[in-house]
Amino acid sequence: MTRALLAGLVLGIALAGCTDDETEKIEHQIVSKVKSDAPYLAQLEAVYGVVFTNRKENMVFRDDMYIRKDKASVYYGYGLEDAEIEVVEIDGERVLRVRLPRPEQISIDRQTLQIETSSPRFKPVDTDGALVNVDKEMNEHLQSVIENYETRTVEMTKNMSREYFLSLAQRYGLRLDLKFGERVAPPEETPGEAAEE
């Protein structure tokens, strides 16, 4: 997903929000844009429960509180541009030949299960009293937690893929020849240029 191809970008509008002395220049794209047209096959879904709480203690009136519970599905799989999936004939036998790169995180789907607040007007604030970008914080926290499970999810994805391609091969009466690569095959390069993963 880091290979971003911008296609069909129509407008980019800069909105400047100046509400106080700490002027923040906010540049937003308020039209949608296609980031990438590269295909990915997702074979594993890792489900996470995510909780975000924010509280503000008040001297006289009751304390302000905000609780949010989300469910995040993280999809793992393979970039098909770095994969080889083809049917070949070897010694009169039809073989499903599959070469897959290392599994990677493809996409995240996050939905809100529950929100509770002490008051509809309360907006979460950070320690300096500035408004918190709740979804940005939740996303960053989730990403750091996901990294802890990386090794396990990579292995699980490979297992799912073996079963997937085996049943596919059986359905079409093919023999399966499946291999996983640890590195993506580097493009043709001049000698001396280091191949970087």
Partner: protein
């Protein structure tokens, strides 16, 4: 008598000052955030992602018409802005093989189904003015089998003229995936 009056006025000023200081203090006071995330389960899936998009949702509140402005103009009183990373493609890719193998192998792309939104992840959000934070978050809450954000995202992609190209590209990708198994 005069001194009682002065004490009274002094006390009143003191109270007003105390309230003003308190209001100022509360408005600049900070809050504390705590988060947790944990793995629940693994599931096998079979989704073919064909396209990724970056889509905004901007919902605005307007206050009722201000007569002093001539009656016809509304003014912005609050907004909710959410930015999404969107994954688009096909769910259950292998079941699509059987249904559409003939069309894919014959190169009849138009007969292939349109892709759907597979994943939406809000990567940034802002609620300001009289737009409640919780109301802004509810865009991503499941309601009657769907999320409002999903419907709005597709509408936004169509309005921005992106959807047509996404559909065409997705059909070609799906066809390419199915054609591996063509005789």
């Amino acid at each position: 008598m005069k001194s009682v009056k002065l004490i009274g006025i002094g006390a009143l000023v003191g109270i007003i000052l105390a309230v003003a200081i308190y209001i100022y203090y509360e408005s600049t006071k900070g809050g504390t955030t705590a988060q947790s995330a944990g793995l629940v389960e693994f599931r096998p899936i079979d989704k073919l992602f064909t396209s990724f998009a970056y889509v905004p949702i901007l919902d605005m509140n307007f206050s009722s018409a201000d007569i002093s402005l001539g009656g016809g103009d509304k003014t912005l009183s609050g907004y909710c802005w959410r930015q999404y990373e969107v994954g688009i493609g096909y769910d259950s890719a292998s079941t699509l093989f059987e249904k559409h193998q003939e069309a894919a192998c014959a190169g009849r792309y138009e007969e292939l189904p349109s892709p759907i939104v597979l994943s939406t992840n809000p990567v940034s959000s802002e609620a300001f003015g009289d737009y409640d934070r919780a109301k802004c978050d509810r865009w991503d809450k499941e309601f009657l089998g769907t999320r409002r954000s999903r419907l709005r995202i597709v509408a936004q992609l169509k309005a921005d003229g992106q959807w047509g190209a996404i559909v065409e590209n997705s059909r070609k990708t799906l066809a390419g995936f199915i054609r591996i198994y063509c005789e």
